[in-house]
Amino acid sequence: MSATLLIDLALAFSVLAAALWTVAARRAFEAVVGFVAFGLVLSLAWVRLGTVDVALTEAAVGAGASGVLLLGATARLGAQTLAEVRDQPAMALRIATGFFCALLAVALGWTLLNLGDPAPSLAPLAAANLAATELGNPVSGVLLAWRALDTLLEAVVLVLAVIGVWSVAPDGAWGGIPGDIQPPRRDPALRLAAQIIPPIGVVIGVHLVWTGAEAPGGAFQGGTVLAAMWVLAWMAGLVRPPAVSSRRLRVWVILGPIVFIAIGLLGSFLADGFLAYPAAFTKPLILLVEAALTFSIAVALVLLLVGPPKAAP
């Protein structure tokens, strides 16, 4: 048995163990900790599957941002589970459910082991079209050129999620500052870290976007890092977001999708169609879209993590 196989097995067992813990833990807090661990080990599995782009996204979004969100929610929920004892399914029902879920897993596993050969692949096509985008990273090429519509819709989904989160605000709080007001001097250690780390994180986040054209990275990974840095400063009480009624804030959130759509429409007139790039300007336009997207993704993620407004303006 080779060393890489051993590593893969160890990784798979760690992911499965963290997932089991997440489902079986007694308290919500323990389950959330299990879930964060799940995301981190899973991101290593992505590296082993040869896709560092996904690994970065998983670590930043799946473990990092989700962890902040879920831990915050657990703390605020406290002992409230929002479930009654009578909501728990009976043992017999649980066993039956478990049986059918296991059956589904076995069927899926069997299918995955018996996929036809040779495997269908769009890799040669992606490689052939990559040259036109002048990018070195095929995943960025797919995200911003070939499947640009998916990426545009994804950016729009983030905007919709922000609208959704804001809309659960209590009536009286509409138009106020989003999120809890953080105590200005909660913890000296946190405050010090929030004074030193964010500028370094900004450099790392922008670099992830910049390098995404050639190497693993991109708008989503970099944008998440930028958002995390701002949220860190916010948690330490050093910065606060503008009110949700602020026009400036709203423009920031939609800037990315707007620029994307505008350049897409440009393609309708100057190139082959909507979201196609004029050949001579492909790379600069992609970089422009990516920069605007990064900014709006970062703002949207911050607003999603911070939550709806809590108090009147």
């Binding site: 000296p188 250690a189 929030a194 004074q195 964010p198 500028p199 900004v202 450099v203 790392i204 670099h207």
Partner: protein, 155 residues
């Protein structure tokens, strides 16, 4: 913003860009713009002039650190094997008044052998230092480290 006071930060952040991204010319232009934005953010979080570092004492402190880390790690490792513990809190009143310098010293001391600051006492204002072995001279080593640490700041 005073441009000269921000220069060391800008240079430091640009250095971070070069370390993670290399120094090709096109990337460096983006890196400089990024470092400028990051410097602006840094100045918002920590105004210029609050932390004035003296390069040589700072270098001395950093060069001494690997030895301290080795001592700290070895001590914990030994105690993990033979479980010779008498854990507890030792109150320590830092000489430095509450400030960024003091916060920095406390974070620094949590990486030194045997000491872990665990928050201030509401009444006395002294910092409760948790130690694995309270029979060691914890307060004395904190005081020595604080004197050493204070030298890296100007003024």
């Amino acid at each position: 913003m005073p441009p000269l006071a921000a220069l060391p930060r800008f240079v430091g952040l640009l250095a971070v860009w070069v370390v993670i991204g290399g120094a090709d010319l096109k990337g460096l232009a983006v890196g400089a713009a990024t470092a400028a934005i990051a410097t602006w953010f840094s100045l918002r979080l920590l105004p210029a002039g609050v932390l004035q570092l003296r390069p040589l004492p700072l270098l001395g402190l950093l060069l001494r650190y690997p030895l301290q880390a080795l001592r700290a790690g070895t001590e914990v490792a030994c105690r993990a094997f033979d479980l010779r513990l008498s854990p507890g809190f030792v109150p320590y009143a830092p000489v430095t008044a509450p400030s960024v310098q003091r916060d920095a010293f406390l974070t620094w001391s949590s990486l030194q052998p045997g000491t872990l600051p665990a928050g201030e006492d509401e009444v006395s204002g002294a910092v409760a230092i948790h130690a694995l072995d309270v029979t060691q001279p914890v307060a004395a080593s904190m005081a020595a480290e604080e004197a050493r640490f204070a030298r890296i700041f100007r003024g």
